[in-house]
Symmetry: C2
DNA sequence: TAAATACATGAGCATATATTCATGCATTAT
DNA sequence: ATAATGCATGAATATATGCTCATGTATTTA
């Protein structure tokens, strides 16, 4: 999670395919909601099951489940089943990095 | 733009204020639209005036102007006037970093 | 087996959002 | 001064989105 900053990657409009643009928009959209951000902030520290998340956020279990489905579909979170509970976790450190950067961006303004 | 990765910043839910969460959501929301992303991709390389952006994206001048207003309000782009033209540019390298990271995230999937 | 628990999901509704259209406001050209 | 150009903006509309409610499915307990 710490390396990779001086990558030679560049963004130029001509090279960006329509599908890449839409994929990026989808990813950002997933992070563009307070409820989902709160869920991710909780998962930033440790994995949690659905009911636990709902309690902490004071949001209905249904609402949390809907949001988790969306995050799942974009590979932002992953899950594992244990009995009748389903534990969710951040999918990878890529997500952590983006969350951290934006958090900093918001702070230093 | 390249340094700053091993910052000691952490995200934990309890410490995140409601307003910080909303600020982050707003920032992500600004990046969560294909048209705005295309605009930013254009500006990634160089500053451009409104009409020029509209031409390149095949979007109406009005639509571009509306989106630029939103990006402006969140300090994602900045502008300078020159005669009757207004040139827009990315506000800072923070934005570049976030765009690059997400671009990579989308590629490596 | 029946009841309870934990989570997922479809439909419906209220709100948010992106675009278009019409128009306004500067600045430059005639 | 009048017209033209470049950009900004308010209103209206169509679509997208997040939540609730009702219900379904899987797993555990009585």
């Amino acid at each position: 999670m710490q390396a990779a900053t001086n990558t030679p990657v560049e963004i130029n409009y001509e090279a960006l395919s329509e599908s890449a643009i839409h994929a990026m928009a989808e990813s950002f959209k997933a992070l563009a909601d307070p409820t989902r951000l709160k869920i991710l902030a909780l998962l930033f520290a440790e994995e949690r099951c659905v009911g636990n998340i709902a309690e902490h956020l004071d949001v209905s279990q249904s609402a949390v489940s809907h949001q988790l489905r969306l995050l799942r579909s974009l590979n932002i979170v992953r899950y594992r089943k244990e009995g009748r509970e389903v534990y969710y976790d951040l999918a990878d450190d890529h997500v952590r990095g983006i969350l951290l950067r934006t958090f900093e961006h918001v702070l230093h303004d």
